[in-house]
């Protein structure tokens, strides 16, 4: 594999950048693989990469219905954080933070990880108390958490509306300075390129149409490009999890919902980090290009549409203008939507299933992007060793029936309001 560096860049400039190697091949599917990963998004590609790198399993295929990076890995708002209260979520995502910090070097691909910090705003004394508790839990798990008062928040985001007669006056906030953003497409491409170089077949435009199960064991799958045999199959299909679960006669604690995001026209640097305004159903960051990247609530009803409705965008931006009045002067460039695998407690599932050789990775709700490396790493371990790693043992499929929920926000099972 050609190494990317400033020297290769200069060298290729002399040939008008026409002689770069392909970043990954376009193979035809083989008849059999040791492991097949369904879903060529961030989680699927990361899983394939860590299977090859950490477990030396290279006879692997990643099957993707569309093109790699065309799903939620290319549709998210690129936020990376580990500001969780519960141990299972906190440890898992803090493990991921360490993978993020070295990702560009490890993948030889600039993912533009930029640890610019996140602030969750608080609007009452009670919320400040809750944030103090969450911050303390984070610090016990070795995660940097800083409780900010109103004046400290004002220093960081002076352009927010700090008047006292608004519906949600800013009392303070909880910050995680080491949180940040990254270039989401680069994450998919970087993992794909490295996985491909180690022998993983990335097979695009290949839809899974069925599974072969014999005596409780998975033996292969049927696709639009032929049958493939494999004794181990991993599902990383996010919003399409229920579609494949139906083919497997499984019912999961997952509902598929639509989440929208939007960006404004690019402006000069105004916002350093990520700000979430939970009370206003709104969060925002500024991209390297200067666009204000914004999102908020789910559309609010089961959806596979991958495009959203206007009332939700209107609702989200109403909250945005309430917090940052200057936004009302900006034009919106684009809105788009992605379909989320909303789990019943807001936390993910990375586990084995009742079918031998079938592994499940889903339930990322709208926080899947930050977990791409930690999810890929633990899912690869779960598949390779046929047992969960201690980092993902809390993300079990049976935690719902057993009562060990990881309900970070205490919202219950109404996935569409979370």
């Amino acid at each position: 594999m050609q190494k990317y560096s400033v020297f290769s860049l200069i060298k290729n400039a002399f040939s008008n950048h026409e002689k770069w190697d392909l970043a990954w091949k376009d193979p035809t599917p083989k008849k059999e693989y040791d492991v097949v990963i369904i879903g060529g998004g961030g989680h699927g590609l990361a899983t394939a990469y860590y299977l090859a790198k950490e477990h030396q399993i290279t006879n692997v295929a990643v099957i993707e219905k569309g093109w790699i990076g065309g799903g939620n890995i290319g549709r998210n708002t690129t936020i990376i954080r580990s500001n969780f209260m519960y141990d299972d979520n906190a440890r898992f995502n803090e493990f991921g933070m360490n993978l993020w910090r070295n990702m560009s070097q490890e993948l030889n691909f600039n993912v533009m990880f930029s640890p610019r910090g996140i602030i969750n705003l608080a609007h009452s004394d009670a919320q400040m108390n809750a944030y103090a508790r969450r911050g303390n839990s984070m610090r016990l798990n070795g995660i940097d958490a800083v409780l900010l008062n109103r004046e400290e928040v004002k220093k960081i985001i002076p352009m927010a509306d700090f008047s006292e007669d608004v519906r949600y006056p800013i009392f303070g906030g909880l910050a995680q300075p080491s949180a940040g953003t990254a270039r989401h497409d680069a994450v998919a491409w970087g993992y794909a390129r490295q996985a491909d170089s180690m022998g993983v077949d990335i097979i695009q435009n290949c839809e899974v149409t069925g599974f072969d199960i014999e005596a409780g064991k998975i033996t292969g799958l049927r696709t639009s490009r032929g049958d493939i045999k494999s004794k181990k199959i991993g599902l990383c299909v996010a919003g399409s999890t229920n579609v494949l679960a139906e083919k497997l006669n499984m019912t999961l604690p997952i509902e598929t919902h639509l989440l929208q995001a939007c960006v404004s026209e690019p402006v000069k640097p105004v916002l350093d980090g990520v700000v979430t305004f939970g009370a206003g159903h709104f969060y925002i960051s500024q991209s390297d290009k200067g666009e204000m990247v914004m999102g908020g609530d789910l559309d609010g009803y089961n959806s596979y549409a991958q495009k959203g409705n206007l009332p939700t965008i209107q609702h989200v931006l109403t909250g945005g203008v309430a917090l940052f009045p200057f936004l009302s002067r900006l034009k919106m460039l684009r809105t788009w939507g992605g379909i989320m695998d909303m789990s019943m407690d807001g936390s993910p599932i990375i586990d084995k299933t009742h079918i031998d050789g079938l592994y499940l990775n889903c339930g990322w709700c709208y926080g899947g992007f930050k977990s791409v490396p930690s999810s890929g790493w633990t899912f690869a371990h779960t598949i390779a060793q046929d047992r969960v790693h201690e980092l993902n043992e809390g993300f079990s499929l049976n935690r719902f029936s057993k009562g060990y929920l990881l309900d970070e926000k205490g919202l219950g099972t109404k996935t569409w309001i979370s």
Binding site: N242, E255, A305, P311
Partner: protein, 88 residues
């Protein structure tokens, strides 16, 4: 924007309604032994199909009645709306 026909009030904008989730889930019968599996099915497990979906909606900014909607989750086409007591 969805246009939802409330069976009591007629066509209204989506903004008047609140969503109530899967309308095919039934609560286990009262005063009977209920297994963990039955509770699991009732509380957590959802089909969430791509395609036709029977769901509950609440006309919260209108007549405040609950009713059921048959809607396509991929195209958002609404096939019919009906009162909860009307059999599917």
């Amino acid at each position: 924007m969805l246009n939802i026909k409330c069976p009591y009030c007629g066509d209204r904008s989506q903004k008047e309604f609140a969503y109530g989730g899967d309308g095919t889930i039934t609560r286990p019968k009262l005063n009977q032994e209920i297994s963990d599996e039955e509770w699991d099915n009732f509380v957590y497990l959802r089909k969430s199909p791509r395609g036709k979906h029977i769901e509950l909606w609440h006309h919260i900014a209108g007549c405040r009645q609950w009713f059921k909607v048959e809607r396509d989750t991929a195209t958002h086409e609404i096939f019919r709306t009906f009162k909860p007591e009307e059999e599917f």
